[in-house]
């Protein structure tokens, strides 16, 4: 079949942007342009398989960064060069919120409008933006702002991501957000625009010896591999290479490590089935797409201890027989990406990645990939599709990643926090690790505390710590008003009441209480908090982040938002109890019949809020 494009030309800048990503590729003859970028692909053999389709997302990023939006000409040029149908390229570009498909101001500010920031800013974090830069989405000026889901800076109470296109281009994450201060920053030359780097790890001051996973945060220089090594870095990989892949997996098995990305799956089982799979090659992916509202733990690790992730992934690759690993980092995390990129380069230059690592018969390298604004891309199979240059739609399971994952090959995938636990396990031994925490939830856990606590931030505690104890570590409820509720586990988690402070924060402890630890979110609400707002935002979040593939979630999340609105506005159809019953039926179909965890958990928090009487039933 011939590939057909519109004949609309790409500008020299657009071509340059695409070529900066794909220039190394050999292309079929006929895909050269006439110098003006004008081309019509008729006559070029094309199968839409595009052997290098995985470069689609990086190339779309390059166009977006350079030009500020993706024009028809640019899209055609890219499609033709990669052998992907323009309709499909468009389908991919229009899936992600960081790509613009119409001309847009060079500066776009994505303002967090999610649960924690809404609560902190009395429901309207965007008010100050309108005053300065006009209505949301108004692209008539130099700067446009739009609302964004949680940006992983909840401990700061407000946040924004700024995307600046052109030469030079820049992405910065700022928090806390003050419109005036941001306006001053944007007056500076673009390459001086700075991320507001911060990490809040209160135990660093109060009790540093209690930190295992966070022990290097704020201590080692995150840009120096030597500093990393002088703080214990690369001891775990050395040990792994000494004991061999099978014994690494045995240590992980002994440790009883469970995944920290939300699903709490035993890590050793995953590793073992990848290692044993006879198909080749194997891949290992580090899931660094952290986007669960209320979660910021992975960002802190990436920004402050990036080498630990590189080392952890290298060990995972070694144990499972991979030569290549990927880190898929959230597109809204520019500093994390910068630090990881730097760490990978440093490690490579020191022989810690590449061929014959530590002079052993072990080759491994890591490629860094960037998301483009889609919570669903954190679902593991959606993430594979995203790397492959497709829409981040989750796949039906089975087959599971260990059978057919990235590029349909056996693939291991772990969350950032899971991988850094591997270092600890190899250092102290699997059995010793299994003695930390509870018998069924071993090790320590990172908790993201935000909302009405005196010291919001990232905390590390052994599994089994009581919710009340954890809140005490953070100085207790910050306001004179008492505690109303805690959101455990994020938007996909559930609310628990002030009478449940003795819940043990372990996988089994929260399960007994009908809750989940999810990604470690502990968001605190005092008596003044507007829970109607919170659950409305949660409903909106799922509607806006649904990939749209399956009916229960695509339509169900829209209906759920409408129902929450009607209940909170008291404009119910029929009686309130009819509406509550309908909400329950919706929850059931989403939970039972959705393809992936997004739809399956989209009703949890909302249901729990009604059940606890936090909002009027």
């Amino acid at each position: 079949m011939d590939l057909r494009t519109s004949g609309k030309p790409a500008s020299p800048e657009e071509i340059e942007a695409v070529e900066s990503v794909i220039s190394i590729l050999e292309r079929p003859t006929g895909t050269e342009t006439d110098g003006k970028g004008s081309l019509d692909g008729r006559g070029i053999p094309f199968d839409n398989k595009g052997g290098h389709r995985d470069l689609l997302l990086p190339a779309l990023h390059a166009i977006q960064e350079r030009i500020g939006w993706i024009s028809h000409g640019a899209l055609d040029y890219l499609s033709l060069q990669l052998g992907v149908a323009p309709a499909e390229t468009y389908g991919v570009a229009s899936f992600y919120s960081m790509f613009s498909l119409e001309e847009t101001p060079k500066t776009v500010i994505h303002v967090c409008d999610d649960i924690a920031c809404r609560a902190a800013e009395n429901g309207e974090p965007a008010a100050a933006m309108s005053g300065r830069w006009g209505a949301e989405g108004d692209g008539s000026g130099e700067v446009m702002w739009v609302r964004s889901p949680c940006l992983g800076r909840c401990e700061d109470g407000s946040a924004a991501l700024v995307q600046r296109a052109g030469m030079p281009h820049r992405r910065i994450l700022v928090a806390p957000l003050a419109a005036d201060a941001l306006a001053v920053e944007l007056e500076k030359p673009v390459h001086d625009w700075a991320n507001t780097e911060s990490f809040r790890v209160p135990q660093r001051e109060s009790d540093p010896s209690s930190l295992r996973l966070l022990k290097r945060v704020g201590v080692a220089d995150p840009t120096s591999v030597d500093s990393y090594r002088s703080h214990g870095g690369y001891r775990a990989l050395r040990r792994a290479l000494e004991i061999g892949p099978d014994n690494v997996i045995r240590e992980i098995k002994d440790s009883k490590l469970m995944g920290r990305g939300g699903a709490a799956f035993p890590t050793a089982i995953k590793w073992e089935s990848v290692a044993r799979n006879t198909a080749r090659p194997h891949y290992f992916v580090c899931n660094a797409d952290e986007s669960e509202p209320g979660t910021f733990k992975d960002r802190v690790i990436m920004e402050q201890d990036p080498f630990a992730i590189v080392e952890g992934l290298t060990i995972a690759g070694y144990a499972t027989g991979c030569e290549k690993g990927y880190i898929y980092v959230r597109g809204e995390y520019p500093l994390a990406e910068e630090r990881l990129d730097h760490a990978i380069h440093e490690a490579r230059s020191k022989g810690l990645l590449g061929n014959r690592i530590f002079d052993r018969d072990f080759d491994f390298d890591i490629e860094l990939r960037r998301g483009a604004g889609a919570y669903i891309a954190g679902e593991e199979t959606a993430l594979f599709n995203s790397i492959e240059g497709k829409r981040a739609e989750p796949r039906n399971k089975p087959p599971f990643p260990a059978q057919a994952g990235l590029f349909q090959k056996p693939t291991g995938v772990n969350n950032v926090e899971t991988l850094i636990n591997v270092l600890e396990i190899l250092e102290i031994g699997g059995l010793a690790f299994s003695n930390i925490g509870t018998p069924d939830s071993t090790g320590t856990r990172l908790f993201c505390l935000s909302g009405s606590v005196s010291e919001p931030g990232l905390y590390e505690a052994p599994f089994g710590i009581r919710l009340g104890e954890l809140l005490d570590m953070a100085g207790g409820v910050s306001s004179p008003k008492s505690l109303k509720t805690v959101l455990l586990g994020g938007a996909a988690g559930s609310f628990v009441g002030p009478d449940q402070l003795d819940i043990a924060l372990s996988f089994e402890g929260v399960r007994t209480a009908g809750a989940t630890l999810g990604s470690g979110v502990v968001m605190v609400f005092d008596q003044d908090a507007d829970l109607d707002q919170a659950i409305l935002r949660i409903a909106q979040f799922f509607r806006e982040e649904s990939c749209g593939q399956c009916v229960p979630c695509r339509v169900g999340t829209a209906r759920q938002e409408e129902l929450v609105l009607r209940l909170s506005n008291n404009t119910v159809i029929g009686s309130r109890s009819d509406e509550i019953a309908l909400l329950g039926n919706l929850a059931t179909v989403m939970r039972e019949s959705s393809i992936c965890g997004l739809g399956q958990t989209a009703a949890n928090a909302i249901e729990s809020a009604f059940k606890l009487g936090l909002v009027r039933g």
């Binding site: 309709a87 468009y90 229009s94 739609e393 806006e544 749209g548 169900g556 506005n569 019949s593």
Partner: protein, 309 residues
């Protein structure tokens, strides 16, 4: 392409369906196994000739040991599997899926089969309230991913928008689109290999589109009409039928269907010629024919226009 199970069948697998033990060839789906036993399971996105995408979630069944319901169209049977197709849990889910669709999509012209299921499950399309007004042309298509028009919840959001009429062959009425992916599959590797259309956008605003929503004549479309043939809800409709429905002259009771072999080339595609009042109003291809499996090219599908002259 179609399931090539025939080649890989070696063994027979024993499963229990609604309490009755049945055997089916290894590699069969739960759906195929059930249908071979005469058990009716409603489907929407599934089509024998297309790769299952399992997105509609209408065909869900219970499988013992599974926390959630399971899509019968894509899940293969395994030895000892215990399947329940007729529980309240299953019926509730199917009813709800149909109601979610009917509350957001115009399902007034659907296959008899689908209409039957909607009746069986007593679908109430107003269960989520009155339907919201249609969007203007292009509005849904240009929404930034992850954003939507906030409403007050009093009206049920729909996918309603004006019909797209941009060529003489067929019209696209996406108010009727249930997003079953069949057209995209038929235009892609499952039949046509043209890739003129794809999924665009995300979530409730996801839609079928060409690149930048350009009209079909500016797209790669070659008017084979295969997408029209697979569309279960008449979102894609031949222009003649659309026009006749508009002026209310479309009348299936006055139509006759004649089978013939396409005269245009040597492949030997079977055609079904639908005529009304001695005029050809539609050309389809029988699903059960192993050359075409329901698919045709532009000449067979639309060549009749020269005959009608």
């Amino acid at each position: 392409m179609s399931d090539s199970v025939a080649v890989s069948i070696q063994r027979s697998v024993s499963v229990t369906i609604d309490g009755i033990e049945v055997a089916a060839p290894e590699g069969s789906s739960i759906l195929q196994t059930c249908r071979s036993q005469g058990i009716d399971i409603p489907t929407l996105c599934y089509m024998e000739t297309l790769t299952p995408v399992n997105t509609c979630r209408l065909c869900m069944v219970e499988v013992q040991g599974s926390r959630t319901l399971v899509p019968s169209c894509s899940r293969k049977i395994e030895p000892g599997m215990v399947v329940i197709t007729n529980s309240d849990r299953v019926s509730e889910s199917r009813k709800m899926v149909l109601e979610l669709l009917a509350s957001s999509v115009d399902m007034s012209i659907v296959s008899d089969e689908l209409a039957g299921w909607m009746e069986l499950y007593q679908v109430d399309k107003e269960r989520f309230g009155p339907m919201a007004a249609p969007s203007s042309l292009g509005e849904r298509e240009t929404m930034r991913a992850g954003h939507h028009h906030k409403s007050d919840g009093s009206k049920a959001a729909t996918v309603f928008e004006p019909v797209k009429i941009d060529n003489d062959q067929y019209v696209r009425d996406y108010s009727r689109c249930v997003l079953c992916y069949r057209c995209v599959e038929a235009c892609g590797t499952d039949a046509q290999n043209t890739f003129a259309i794809a999924l665009g956008g995300r979530g409730f605003e996801a839609h079928i589109t060409t690149e930048f929503d350009v009209p079909l004549p500016e797209s790669a479309c070659v008017y084979c009409g295969n997408c029209v043939a697979v569309c279960p809800t008449s979102a894609l409709m031949f222009k003649i039928e659309h026009d006749m429905r508009q002026d209310q002259s479309w009348d299936e009771s006055r139509q006759t269907i004649t089978r013939t072999v396409c005269p245009y080339c040597g492949v030997g595609c079977n055609l079904e010629i639908h005529t009304q009042d001695n005029k050809i109003v539609k050309v389809t291809s029988p699903l059960d024919h192993d050359v075409t499996e329901g698919m045709l090219c532009v000449k067979g599908r639309f060549g009749f226009e020269f005959i009608n002259g």
